[in-house]
Symmetry: C2
């Protein structure tokens, strides 16, 4: 799918992936894959960006003798998902303009 269309969707996809329970990089990619293709470098870039924006927090935890970085959504992150629903109305209005049949 068009790379540009994905922009603006990827961030909220990641937030949605950790919305209900904390998750970690590898799992996020697998959860999101059925919907959008996302490379590891892209994911970790996004995670860092979201952390800087206080949309999520990070805590390291041991699992099977190996360290994992778990990502936890913040209230700001949940708010971002709410805002996204609002923004979607505008997106749908654009969609209607693009796909309208008449002049």
């Amino acid at each position: 799918m068009d790379n540009q269309l994905k922009r603006g969707l990827l961030d909220v996809c990641v937030l949605a992936a950790i919305k209900n329970e904390d998750s970690y990089g590898y799992k996020i990619i697998k959860d999101v894959k059925p919907y959008v293709e996302m490379s590891e470098s892209t994911l970790y870039t996004i995670l860092k960006r979201l952390e800087l924006a206080n949309m999520l927090t990070v805590h390291t935890s041991e699992h099977g003798g190996r360290l994992r970085k778990y990502y936890h959504i913040t209230n700001a992150g949940l708010g971002r998902l709410e805002d996204f629903r609002e923004e979607w109305r505008e997106v749908m209005s654009i969609w209607q303009f693009v796909t309208r049949e008449d002049g």
Copy 2:
């Protein structure tokens, strides 16, 4: 609205604006404005990109003693709009993932 969400939408907005009749820069912006904000520099960047991709052709025509560049959509451009409808199914699937309530 989130700038990122607009990307991928802007190109097809411009194509949609010239879909039914040839148009020119200033008019395209005015037609699109109710749906998406687009600056002039952005528009002309997009028009140039679409021309390079053979999505539209340009012809200069005089209007009121002044030259105007009219943009005409090509079959490839119309095809792009068709493809967009297909891509939209994927976008809606992503949307459902993001806004789903259950885990």
